[in-house]
Structure formats: C-alpha cells, structure tokens
Amino acid sequence: MSDLTVPACLTRRLGARIWNSRVDYLFLVPGMLIFGAFILYPIFAAEYFSLLNWSGFDSNAQFVGLANYMELLQDPFFWNAFGRSFLFTLSTVPAQMFISLIIAIILNNKLLKLSALFRTMIFLPVVTPVAVIGIVMTIMLSPFNGPINMAILDSGLLSRPLDFLGDPDLVLSTLAAIYVWKWVGVTMVYWLAALQTVPAELYEACKLDGVKGWQVTLYVIMPMIMPFAIVIALISAISALNVFPLIMSMTQGGPYFASEVMEVYIFRYAFATAGAIPRLGYASAAGVFFGLAIMSLTILQVLAVRHLRNREKPNAA
C-alpha cells in the first residue's frame, strides 16, 4: 500500500504495528531469504529471460519480445514434449495412487507382524537415487541378457526379447512403469498417514457389529480418507511432472526423442547443446509456457474441488 492512499494517522498506526512485531519479522528473515532467492525470484526472472535472445551467462543479451514464444509454438518437438509430460502424468498418477492405497490398507493391519519390514522394502526404491536406478534398470531390461527378458523368454510368452528402452513405441510406458515402481513407497506413506487419522474405536465398533473386513475398508474407511486423496493426487501429479532425473539417467530423451519430456527439452536447449550455441532465452520461454500451463491446471483443479465441496455442504447440513 502506498502512502498516497492511506491517511497519515493510519500510516502511523501501521508503522507502530510493524514496529511492535519486529521480532516476528526477524524470525522471517532466514526463511524469506531462501524463499526469495531460490523460489520467488527465479519465477519472475524466468519470465524476463524468456523475452531475450541470450546465448550465455556472461555475453550480451538482446531483447526480442515474444519472438521465442512464436518460435516455440511452431516447433513440433516442443508440442510433442509438452504432450508427453502430461501423458506421463496422467498415466502414472492413477496407477501410483491405486497400487499404493492397496499396499497401505494391507500394511495398516496392526496384527501383521512383519508390516514394518514390508513397508521398508516397498520404500527402498524411493531412497535409491535415480542415477542408480538408471544403471540397475538398464541391466534388468537389457534385450541381450537382462533378467526380465530372460524370464519372458523362458516362460515362452514371446519368442524374441523386448527392447524396452530402445523401441520408440515401448520406451515411454517402460519409463512410466519404472517411475511408478520408484515412487509408490512415498504415496504409500501418505496413505498410511491418512489411515492413522481413522480412530481405532471405529474399527472396534465395526468388528462388534460383525461388518466384514473389505466392507469396513470400502464403506467406512474409504470415505474418511478421501479428503486426503485430493491432496495426495495433487502432490503426486506435481512430482510426476519432474521426471527429468529418471529420463536423463535412462534414455536422455531417446530413442529418436521418443521419451523427451518438457524438462529434457529445456535442458537440451539450455545446457546440453553439444557444440551449438546455448539458447537460454528460448529454453526459458519453454519453461514459462509449461509452468503457466501447470499453474492454470492446478487452479482449475482447486476450483473444481471447491465447487464440489460447496455442492456437498447443503446435503450434509
């Protein structure tokens, strides 16, 4: 608020209020430094960079207006990568949420003695760095003597090995499966946390009333943890848009760009130019376009959820 619009007495009171909470502001300083420098500033800077023709970090940048965006919209590789990012998210998130929910419901059983051990095993891929997963999975899926192809051949299902990572038609599904395998553990922990909010008395009451286990799960527990499902879906969707590490360590976007998602596209233009001149402005434009698309989708999702909730309220009251 500028001083012009606020009467003098009000500004003085405002000043006094600010002075009174000076310790609060002091507490905010470290957090705001991190937030400002590495979250807020980059968001606005990326927008400015996207208007430049800029080849390197110390050379002169030239202002070109919306030229980068015009070029971007005409590049089929951009649209392919853009679509692939969303396709990847749409296919992994439901699978990840469904599988992890089932595992969480089974492992939530307090009488299951080994539940902590199983939980840890399911969680192991989560704590494994993607670079490691890239190495191990490349071996596992190798068409020459990889264990998975050996198993397929031995079972007699197919007569020829599958080139999971080398076949442009297979590569994205393969990466999606590996992605789900790696991250199911995290979603499982979210579901377990949600299940812990169901009071133990409820299970007891159902047991006394002779309700069967699967009925309790379906009709009592599911409605109780559904509010969490929205949050979990949102978090999972955002993480699925950050698949860069996995794809870099497995295929680098290949073969023939078949697994090039948005971040790989950005990285290719900005950093991995292999002799050509880096195009940071152009890459920024791709990032901004992508980021804005995600933000608008998020807002739409939030609005949809709010709309649904408002419709439910009169019924509940």
Binding site: R17, F49, F57, T120, P129, V136, A193, F267, G287
Partner: protein
C-alpha cells in the same frame, strides 16, 4: 451375544490367523520381486565382472570387496560421497531452522504482511524445477557460487521449502496458548520460548522435515548436474554415479559398488526414522 451368533452361522473358511499368515507369504513374494533389482545390484557389486553375467545366482561364490575399493579410490566415489554429505547436512540444518522459524511466526503470530506471504507461498507451491533452473543457476553464477558446492547446498534448500513452512505453520497453530503465556509470565524471551518450548513440541514435524529434505538433497540431480558440468571435482553421488556410467560403461562391478555406496546411508537413516516419519506425517495431515 447376538453378534457372536451371527458369526457362528457361517464360519470363515480360514481362521483370521491363517489369513494373516497367507497375506504375509504373498506380501513376502511381492516384496522379493519388488526389491530384486536392488538385491541384484548388491550381489553384482560383490562379484568380479566375469561372474556378474555368468548366471551363478544372487549369492556370490567368491565375494570380494575389490569393486568397492576401485570405485571409492579410482572413480572418486569417496570424494563425491563427502560432497553429498556436505550438501545434505548443510541444507538440512539451514532448511530446518529457517522453515521452523518462518512456520512458527506464520502459524501463531498476527502481523502486517502475513496474508501476503501466504498468498505468495500458495502461488509458488506447484512450480516445477525445469521452470526455475536457469535463473537459479544464473543467480548462483552472479553470487560467485556457480561452480561451488556452497552454491549447490544453498539452492538445494529451495527444493521443498514451501511445503515445510506450511507443515510447521499448521502444526504450531494447533498448540494451545497457555505454554507461551506461562513462559512470558516467567520472563522468558521470545527467542528462548521458541527454541526451548515450542520447537521441542514440534518434534514430529522436525523429523519429517529432516527426512524429506535428506531424501530430496541426496536424490537431487538436475541442479548438481548443471552446477558441476564444468567442475567434475565437486560432483555429488547422483551425478558421480551417472558420470561413472558414461565413462566406464563396461565396469559393471565398479558401477554397482558405487551405486550401493550411494544408497546405504539413506536406507539406514530411513530404517531408524521411519516410525517417527510416518507419525509425523500423520500429525501434519491431521492439522
């Protein structure tokens, strides 16, 4: 009891105990397949390169730690390991202190600008890393940290910072006022109240933040890759293992040994903290 009668009409096929045993057996099989790739990795790291593809089963016939010695010394995995520890420990300390302080003030205090900060946080929460990587790298370069571990460490703090602040703010806002008032009456300063009274109360969130930030920093790839492109000596484990593969793509023994080294610390950390971690998340979700 009428309920017991209704149960006895149709006795279950399996007793509950038998059913639990059956579920455990199925789960054990699923888990074995689930972690097979990682078991294979550990097994390969103990074999020599000829034995890895000789189909001799998971348990090596002549286990040796030669691969580990080679990876640690020749492939610099040793120094990458300490680089990663520096980045992880540094960012965990900074993030925990900064996010708990910010969350405390946002969750419990009323001051001018509070709404604005919340609005900014909501606005930024879903921005993907690909969007910000170029400005972050540019900023680090301007600060003279474009090719230093300090740069990686500082920028890694930004990763999930906003979520941590919200976790702390939600948790602190539920704590009753009496404690703070009692501390105030006793003349304890604001900072001391926070440090000795409030922060210990928020232990579940502290553990959650420590585990999540450790996982994030240990796994982070894009940022360390970009910062270390021109300076290989400060690579972190993720980037180091990735580069190792590019440079020695036939040394499977060394590669799997390097990989095993890079997952061991986080696995151990998770084993010790997993109960607190899930409880902490549950506490946060409730709020």
């Amino acid at each position: 009891m009428p309920h017991d009668a209704s149960v006895s009409i149709r006795p279950p096929v399996l007793s509950p105990r038998m059913r639990r045993v059956l579920i455990s057996v199925v789960l054990a099989a699923v888990c074995a397949v689930w972690i097979y790739p990682l078991l294979w990795m550990v097994s390969a790291s103990l074999k020599d390169n000829a034995a890895i593809f000789a189909n001799e089963g998971l348990i090596p016939e002549r286990p040796s730690f030669e691969n580990y010695v080679r990876a640690w010394k020749e492939a610099n995995i040793g120094s990458y390991f300490f680089n990663t520890v520096f980045v992880t420990v540094g960012s965990v300390i900074l993030v925990t202190i900064a996010s708990s302080m910010m969350g405390y003030v946002l969750g419990r205090r009323r001051f001018v600008g509070r709404g604005l900060i919340f609005a900014l946080i909501a606005f930024t929460i879903f921005v993907p890393q690909g969007y910000t990587i170029i400005p972050v790298f540019d900023l680090l370069t301007r600060m003279g940290l474009g090719q230093s571990l300090w740069g990686v460490m500082l920028a890694t703090c930004g990763g999930s910072f906003v979520i941590f602040v919200l976790l702390f703010a939600g948790y602190f806002s539920q704590i009753p006022n009496e404690l703070e008032e009692a501390a105030k009456m006793d003349g304890v300063s604001f900072i001391k109240t926070f440090w000795f009274v409030m922060l210990p109360l928020a232990r579940p969130i502290v553990v959650t933040v420590v585990v999540m930030q450790t996982l994030y920093a240990w796994n982070d790839f894009l940022l360390p890759l970009v910062v270390t492109l021109a300076n290989p000596s400060i690579r972190t484990l993720s980037v180091g293992v990735y580069a190792f593969r590019g440079e020695n793509f036939i040394d499977w023994g060394g590669m799997t040994a390097a990989s095993t080294i890079s997952i061991l610390p986080v696995v151990i950390l998770f084993l010790f903290l997993q109960r607190y971690f899930i409880d902490g998340l549950a506490g946060a979700v409730k709020g």
